[in-house]
């Protein structure tokens, strides 16, 4: 049985297992129908032209993890931002781990989507926000149909969350191959501030496919600083769809660090509904071997006087492949929009490939929009400069890679995280250069 058929038939059993009065019962049913009709996307679709899911669909994934698995803190501590205090919402094989988590209901909610869906206290918010901006593409629909766990974060009006929130999904490898479908809902109230770090981490060499969906709502003047760390094992694949809706004067920034994994597809969609919104999308991608990352971004400018900034840097070694498909839509009403998009790539080896496809669709007449895209190799002059100072070739290349990625790295606002990502990058590059942050 292929994966699609297996998923569709499993849904019936899954649906029986859930209570009928679940507020999202109808949403789920509609979603599975949508998935059944459309199936997994293929390269025939324009949005998937450069990414084939075939190699990761041909695996007999377990769709429902069998039991509650545990991990020792010492084994996973390295994946937490342990040198600073954080809230944590941690899942192991899709099941909440209270032992590793630190949640709260004190003046805000940092907890589980499963409890939010069950508890009447949250029903009004669920009614208003759940699945309201998530797309209707087949992969998001698949998540909507099956999702039962994830983080639920609600930051009320004027609340400044005092420490970052980490959302971490571990996969243990107790199942031979596993499919995980976490679902996060994040609502940030008027003038509230929050920093969130999201990570998917496999602890096994077994095949893992994560199909994650996150909906984020930024109310008026909300401030959201979001980081995605994608540094998974070479047997783990991730489809990560993030939908962000911004109201007036809100500011939302997403950094995506794609540093590992077998196949990663990022769908990052912003919609600006009010005036004076600011959206920032930044990314560093460092790949090797046969790794593949596809960044598919969309910024939808609906209202006037808004800004968006995109800056994606990619470093591709060996036979790794990358895609940057960035789309900016400026609707007719969105006058005085400033939209900037930058995508720079360095191919370290001859076999590495990047496909870049910037798209601008502008229907307003008084806007400033730009996009720039480069694909190149190391600057020979720069390399010679460093080597002439006694720095060996590989270290010199590393220094240049570091410098290249730096415009993205320097905007990371959580310094402990910045240090951490610096270390990951230095390790990736395979050198130990004494640069400070």
């Amino acid at each position: 049985m292929n994966l699609k058929d297996k998923l569709v038939s499993s849904f019936l059993a899954f649906d029986d297992y859930l209570e009928d009065d679940s507020p999202i019962h109808d949403i789920r049913n509609k979603a599975i129908k949508n998935f059944e009709e459309n199936g997994f996307p293929t390269k025939k679709e324009e949005d998937w032209k450069y990414t084939s899911l075939k190699p990761i669909l041909n695996v007999d994934y377990s769709i429902f993890p069998k039991g509650e698995n545990t991990v020792e803190l010492k084994d996973v501590k390295q994946y937490f931002l342990h040198d600073i205090d954080t809230f944590k919402v941690v899942f192991i094989d899709g099941v909440y781990s209270s032992f590793l988590s630190e949640t709260t209901h004190d003046s805000m909610d940092i907890c589980l989507i499963s409890s939010a869906l069950k508890n009447d206290r949250y029903s009004a918010l669920i009614e208003t926000y759940y699945n309201k901006i998530a797309g209707e593409d087949s992969l998001t629909s698949l998540n909507t149909a099956f999702a039962k766990e994830g983080a639920y974060i609600h930051i009320p009006k004027n609340k400044e969350v005092e420490k970052p929130i980490e959302i971490i999904n571990f996969v243990t490898g107790k199942e031979e191959a596993l499919m995980a479908q976490p679902r996060n809902l994040i609502i940030v109230g008027e003038n509230a501030h929050v920093q969130i770090i999201e990570r998917h981490q496999s602890l096994t060499d077994n095949a893992v496919l994560t199909n994650s969906v996150t909906e984020i709502f930024a109310e008026k003047r909300a401030f959201i600083d979001y980081y995605k760390i994608q540094n998974n094992n070479s047997t783990a694949s991730l489809i990560d769809s993030t939908y962000i809706s911004q109201e007036r004067e809100s500011n939302c920034c997403v950094h995506t660090f794609s540093l590992g994994g077998k196949l990663t597809r990022n769908n990052l969609k912003f919609i600006q509904n009010g005036e004076h919104c600011d959206s920032t999308l930044k990314g560093i991608t460092i790949l090797k071997d046969k790794q593949h990352v596809d960044h598919n971004t969309l910024v939808q400018h609906v209202a006037p006087n808004c800004e968006s900034h995109q800056d994606y840097k990619g470093l591709y070694a060996d036979s790794s492949t990358g895609v940057f498909n960035g789309k900016v839509v400026v609707e007719k009403e969105a006058q005085k929009t400033n939209a900037f998009q930058q995508n720079n790539n360095i191919l370290i080896d001859d076999k590495a490939t990047v496909n870049a496809k910037p798209q601008l669709e502008i229907f307003a007449d008084d806007v400033k929009c730009s996009h720039g895209c480069t694909i190149g190799q190391f600057d020979e002059e720069a390399l010679f400069y460093l080597r002439s100072r006694g720095i060996a070739k590989n270290e010199a290349q590393a220094l240049l890679m570091y410098a290249f990625a730096n415009t993205v790295l320097e905007s990371v606002k959580i310094s402990a995280l910045k240090t951490r990502i610096n270390r990951i990058i230095a390790k990736k590059i395979g050198v130990n250069i004494g640069f400070n942050v």
Partner: protein
């Protein structure tokens, strides 16, 4: 110290250097002058080991060791330093961290341990003072947003830190106002001693008023066509290069 004999070099099979002969001894300052396109910067790059140039013929030795097949970093470890005409910007890496890395890489190549931090700081302070460099400057990203003068001063600062045996200054005077020129020249003069040598590559004579050369060589069409003393530089400044061309053709 530096011995160059019948050196030929080409880029993309186009011959640039066509038989250079040059002997530089410890304690000496040599100036290499010549019109645009004569091969001055190529000569500097070939000595420093830039691999876009192919040395097709000749000898290139430093202290009796053939360095013609060595990588640029290996030449640096043996004491070759080149001050760049256009230093490269490296965002995110501070001047201090860059120079620390360069020094420790060189020490590593010589089988030495990293320089202790306190010693490094002392050295940085001493050399920064020598070149009148503000401490704040040292924490800025390497060459990023530096003015022309700052870039050149930073090159000489690196030279001071690395303490090379052979320093090649490639058009170090270009883009400098007279005050910056004096600071840079003064720095170079303070770094000179009986054990090192300096090769100054320049278009104009004005730098040579401050760094007094022992020998002046004129490079034209890939060859050294005339060698003299500092007076030759003055003559070139007054009369240009045409008279030398005529002299050769005569």
């Amino acid at each position: 110290m530096l011995h160059i004999k019948d050196l030929h070099a080409s880029v993309n099979e186009k011959d640039i250097l066509k038989g250079i002969n040059l002997e530089v001894h410890a304690g000496e300052v040599h100036a290499i002058m010549g019109p645009n396109g004569s091969g001055k910067s190529t000569l500097a790059s070939v000595i420093a080991g830039k691999d876009t140039f192919e040395m097709t013929k000749g000898e290139l030795t430093l202290n009796n060791e053939d360095i013609s097949e060595l990588d640029p970093e290996e030449r640096a470890h043996r004491g070759v330093f080149m001050s760049f005409q256009y230093p490269v910007e490296i965002p995110g890496v501070s001047v201090t961290n860059f120079i620390k890395t360069a020094i420790n890489e060189t020490r590593k190549a010589k089988g030495l341990k990293d320089m202790p931090a306190s010693e490094m700081l002392k050295l940085i302070k001493e050399k920064a003072d020598l070149l009148d460099i503000d401490r704040k400057f040292l924490s800025r990203s390497l060459n990023e947003g530096f003015s022309g003068g700052e870039k050149k001063r930073n090159e000489i600062f690196q030279m001071a830190m690395l303490d090379p045996k052979l320093a090649i200054l490639d058009e170090t005077d270009s883009g400098l106002d007279i005050d910056a020129l004096k600071i840079v020249a003064n720095g170079v003069n303070k770094l000179r001693n009986k054990d090192n040598a300096v090769v100054v590559i320049t278009h104009y004579q004005r730098l040579l008023d401050h760094i007094i050369p022992d020998f002046v060589h004129v490079l034209m069409n890939g060859k050294i066509v005339k060698t003299g003393t500092k007076e030759l530089a003055h003559e070139l400044e007054e009369k240009g290069y045409d008279w030398i061309k005529e002299e050769i053709n005569a």
